[in-house]
Symmetry: C3
Subunit: 280 residues, 3 copies
């Protein structure tokens, strides 16, 4: 596994299992939060995917036990994120990455083991397919529970995927959702027994990696007429930043920090529960 | 519980469990049909929700055994409904209420026990979330079965929620749908054992009522980019009124009346079955 | 059963069970592939449906064991298809038929027993409802697996029906999907035990055929605001033709032919499996 950005530790590692089948592994222990450096490395990943003529399938997985990809790093300076230049779409780097991933001429697959909260859910929604561990996956958009608005597109994408009623339940309840419930809602393609998940994704990715790239790319291009306009991702991002400037979110995050947020412990494990304890 | 419109009996009662958590209870025994007075009271409800700065969650439920909210009152004079002034959206009062409820900056939840037919289904579709009794909920759009077209938006909303194929099955078959089938189709968020339904909704509403109103409102605002244009609700309403002027609907309603429609008895309980007996 | 086009054998037979309830039976043994003549007969079917004032329900089924409707006939000359005049919508005859079927003022129902691959899936997606044999239905879009792009609208229609993630799984994996999985994904309305399927569809069609045609037509007209623009069906068709001119598809089809494609044998039965063996 090699770092996308050689100057820093790889938080997002890129492995080429073959010229056609790449693996992107998220690796920021102990709880896989996403700070500015990880966002920068995701930019490197999408640049590499777009520039390559051989890659047909990219699997996103995690090297950190219990966490697929987690919420943002609230110990990092927000300015380090907001001062990053816009991406190719003109959007800020995180929504830019997500939009370009949906439009990239390859099949992208999220392999979800452990918690996919906030950014982890947003990455899932930007992938073409997602498969979750029945026992070990938790997916959530936790933002409203802490006084925030999500920034990576779930308001734009979830209603089309799971219906407006279930999208609003996910977003407004901010609850933890099991792999099984996520499958029932259509939030992920399927939830599989944990012991079968890796082999299933490996077989599917290997299969698609043998298919013709032109056929993959053009089929996906035509499916993408169903995507919400990119500008909606920008609107989500703007609302997220606005929410971070308000006392509700500042106080909510502070209260979570006091309870052990960002540490591999109870608050991260049972975030849905703790959000219900916070407010009021 | 207080009447929204003090001059008349409360068919739509508004209870403030707390400043942030309101309950709207439909109460027009014996079978919870919706006549012009109930429509007027729903206008009062939405005016109150929009004017209040504290309310974050509104639960819609029923005080009438076996009926959540039923079809329209065909004993009432149609002119009493059609002569009511347009609402704030410019639409007639019932679609106006439904559109404004989808856009209101609060979380709305339908708690469905008993029959949700016609208007009851339309209210469910206008709420942000819906939870149904597994044993005691029946949901349906019955209109085509009696020669009518539905007037409160299911043609606009159901295809996005449950897919075009299942939306057309619901609408063109006019069949009764159980809570379990409604959950499988995504028509409601979940069907719960009847004994657990009240506590589940109470806990969810209490949870969301503690979250920040600005975060709720802005998250919902961004989800609402997925709503069909309001004009589609107007088109549904116009087609409904047109259908009521045709012999097919007049004869269908008359035939149902002869069998005991509007009375707490077999026709109301098994409306799907009786629609199948009517025609031909 | 009478041939729509009397000059040739009926590959698409039209039976009027009653003036209001028609049955269209696909009958091109041994494996129900679709060649230019079948496309011409489908044009006859849609012309007849549009011209009739009595018909309210049309059921599509198959007279060929194990095949509902299969992929295109690659033994036929492509020119015989591409030289056919455009249909009423201005689209080529196959997408023209599919678009007009979605807009026809009748309820259309696919009764799926056996394989619905490529065109068979596309017909299903153009019908208003679909019911599949739990034991005997297989549905798939196989095109990417052979280096092609699908031509009859699944890129336009599947994301709205089953969500973008599951649509891309269906299309990019090119796998065989069982009736049960298709129901879980919402690809079909329901999967029923094979022994109950015919009676279920018969009862549903008989029921709707008794309802008022104006109410059926206007309800469907309003649901159809949710359809993707017809031009997307044209884009799918153009991409399909372009894919057929490329070596990947030519080689893929040739390799399948060498293994027994178009014959009632293992390759047609387990097409998903063989596509995985082909490439690479």
């Amino acid at each position: 596994m090699t770092a996308v950005n050689a100057a820093t530790r790889a938080q997002v590692g890129l492995t080429k299992q073959s010229p056609a089948f790449w693996r992107v592994t998220i690796d920021n222990p102990p709880v896989n939060v996403m700070g500015p450096e990880m966002v920068r490395q995701f930019q490197g990943v999408i640049n590499a995917i777009e520039a390559d003529e051989q890659v047909r399938v990219v699997v996103f997985d995690s090297a950190v036990d219990d966490y697929f990809l987690n919420h943002s790093d609230f110990m990092a300076r927000l300015e380090d994120l907001t001062s990053m230049p816009a991406g190719l779409t003109g959007l800020p780097p995180w929504p830019d990455f997500l939009v370009r991933l949906t439009r990239a001429p390859v099949a992208s697959i999220a392999l979800i083991r452990g918690r996919a909260t906030g950014n982890g859910s947003e990455l899932t929604l930007a992938c073409d397919m997602s498969f979750a561990s029945r026992e070990k996956a938790i997916i959530s958009q936790w933002e409203v529970g802490v006084g925030m608005v999500a920034g990576g597109g779930p308001m734009a994408r979830l209603p089309q995927l799971i219906g407006r009623n279930r999208a609003l339940e996910v977003l407004l309840s901010s609850e933890d959702i099991t792999g099984e419930q996520a499958e029932a809602y259509g939030y992920v393609n399927r939830a599989l027994p944990d012991g079968e998940l890796d082999a299933f994704v490996e077989a599917l990715a290997t299969r698609i990696a043998k298919f013709d790239k032109w056929a993959i790319a053009n089929t996906k291009r035509l499916v993408n007429t169903s995507l919400p306009p990119d500008v909606e991702l920008g609107a989500d991002w703007d609302a997220c930043l606005a929410s971070l400037g308000r006392p509700a979110a500042q106080n909510g995050i502070k209260a979570l920090m006091a309870r052990g947020f960002h540490k591999p412990w109870d608050v991260e494990d049972r975030l849905g529960y703790y959000l219900g304890q916070l407010a009021g």
